[in-house]
Amino acid sequence: MKILSDAVEIVRGGLITARHFVVNMWFHTWRFLGLRTKRAGAVTIQYPEVRREVAPRHRSLHRLVRRPDGKPRCVACMLCVTVCPSECIFVEAAEDPDPEVQKYPARFTIDLSRCCFCGFCVEACPEDAIRMDTGKLEVAGRARADLEYTVEKLV
């Protein structure tokens, strides 16, 4: 009697969803009344208010590391520009009065609309001047020009 075993399975399926409903409502109700329960009624993370912790090695928005005196550490060596597969970094070098530093970036722009967040620039940098550890994930703009991040935005 296949139809009977099918009917049993149909009822069991309904009981599974009903069990989920009852168990989740149980936790929802206690949580709503302010009691601590061993788990929440749902696995949802209420995103803009509550955020998931990103992994320490997660590659997020770039950051230009600064020297103790506040200037960016970058010496405009162009290694990141060379290594960048999306060709989204633009650096214009200028002479620095400090002979130890020699060069500083007069212009350092990352076109985030082209960036693929591969992290090669971080790997290539000999001065540890660029990092991708801000934890900022939402990079959005209303126009392409909004996504060209300059030094002021990146430090």
Partner: protein
């Protein structure tokens, strides 16, 4: 004059109840599906910063649908295209007229039935109106002049007509047990007790009929295990060419059919507004005790019981809708014609034999 006024008030109250429950049901559908799937569901719509579990979501949806563009495709039959959603809405909305909400109350020497009209063929009336609702679907598919919509409409027609048969057959058993088509009388008969203690509810007298009816009525609401007319993944359905409020009316009709189905399940199989052992003057327990209650409290209890049962069956239908995958079209037809219809006939035979014995 007073009679007309009473009927008008009853119509307004019944429709308000119906439409409010429909709005709530859209919320219940979203939240219940979320809870079943370990999610939270829509909870962002807020008024003055108050979210109230997303209870404002139905209103936000309604406002959105009101302000969307109401587009009629240039190739469609304009008159029929406009008529179709109103037809299917109307035929479902009038069914609430025959649903008994409670026992008759006496106000100022006047006997008022808690029912818009106590038709002597109320059961037939509801069945007829539910069957006529298929016109809205067929018309919308036809008038859209879109082959996928037409396919949806035809599927809807074939499905509803074949499941209508099983629905009718399962109800024949009910009519044999409670010899009346008047819904208020059917509910009255269910107030009596079997062997002195068991309420004579339809589900106890007609268990097989109940199963057939439950499946057939779920097919009648054309929601997920039976949503072939819509067929979201392949043909998108009879309302492909609809937008804005007209599409919203089709969606509302779906939810209203769920409520009508819950009303029918309650009224026919779960004693309508009857509370077990509650008579007109209070509880008469089978173990001998009586607990007398004032008249108004009895009425409140009865209407409350009816509402609780209806909400429970709405909940059950939403749960089933979020449990089962969809039938294939041939499976749907085979199931209807080779299982439900014969089971309905068997139910009639069994009932007849048991009635004679």
């Amino acid at each position: 004059m007073v009679d007309v006024l009473i009927v008008l008030i009853k119509i307004v109250l019944a429709l308000t109840w119906f439409l409010l429950l429909t709005l709530l049901l859209t919320w219940v559908e979203r939240k219940e599906s979320a809870v079943v799937q370990d999610r939270i569901g829509a909870n962002r719509a807020a008024v003055f910063g108050r979210r109230l579990f997303g209870l404002f979501q139905p209103f936000a949806d309604a406002i959105k649908m009101l302000f969307k563009e109401d587009f009629t495709p240039p190739f469609a039959d304009r008159a029929l295209h406009t008529l179709a959603p109103f037809l299917s809405f109307f035929f479902v909305a009038v069914t609430v007229a025959a649903v008994p909400f409670g026992d008759a109350v006496v106000v100022g020497g006047k006997r008022i039935a808690l029912q818009v009209v106590d038709l002597n063929a109320g059961l037939l009336f509801i069945l007829a109106m539910l069957s006529l609702a298929v016109y809205g679907i067929l018309l919308s598919g036809w008038a859209s002049r879109n082959r996928l919509s037409l396919l949806g409409g035809l599927r809807g027609g074939a499905q509803l007509i074949s499941y209508e048969l099983a629905l009718g057959l399962s109800l024949v058993g009910i009519v044999m047990v409670y010899p009346s088509l008047r819904l208020s009388e059917i509910v009255h008969f269910q107030g009596l007790n079997l062997f002195g203690f068991l309420p004579r509810w339809g589900v106890i007298l007609q268990p097989l009929g109940f199963v057939v009816f439950l499946v057939a009525v779920m097919a009648e609401t054309k929601r997920v295990p039976f949503d072939l007319p819509e067929g979201e993944s392949e043909i998108v359905g009879f309302f492909t060419e609809y937008s804005g409020l007209k599409w919203g009316m089709f969606m509302m009709t779906d939810f209203m059919e769920v409520i009508v189905a819950a009303c029918l399940l309650t009224t026919l199989y779960f004693g309508g507004w009857q509370v077990p052992w509650l008579g007109a003057d209070g509880f008469h327990f089978p173990w001998g005790g009586t607990w007398l209650l004032p008249k108004w409290l009895v009425t409140v209890l009865q209407v409350g019981a009816f509402n609780v049962k209806v909400v429970f069956f709405c909940w059950l239908q939403v749960l089933l809708r979020w449990t089962y995958p969809r039938f294939r079209y041939d499976q749907l037809m085979r199931f209807g014609w080779t299982w439900l219809v014969p089971l309905g006939v068997v139910n009639i035979l069994l009932t007849a034999v048991l009635l004679i014995i």
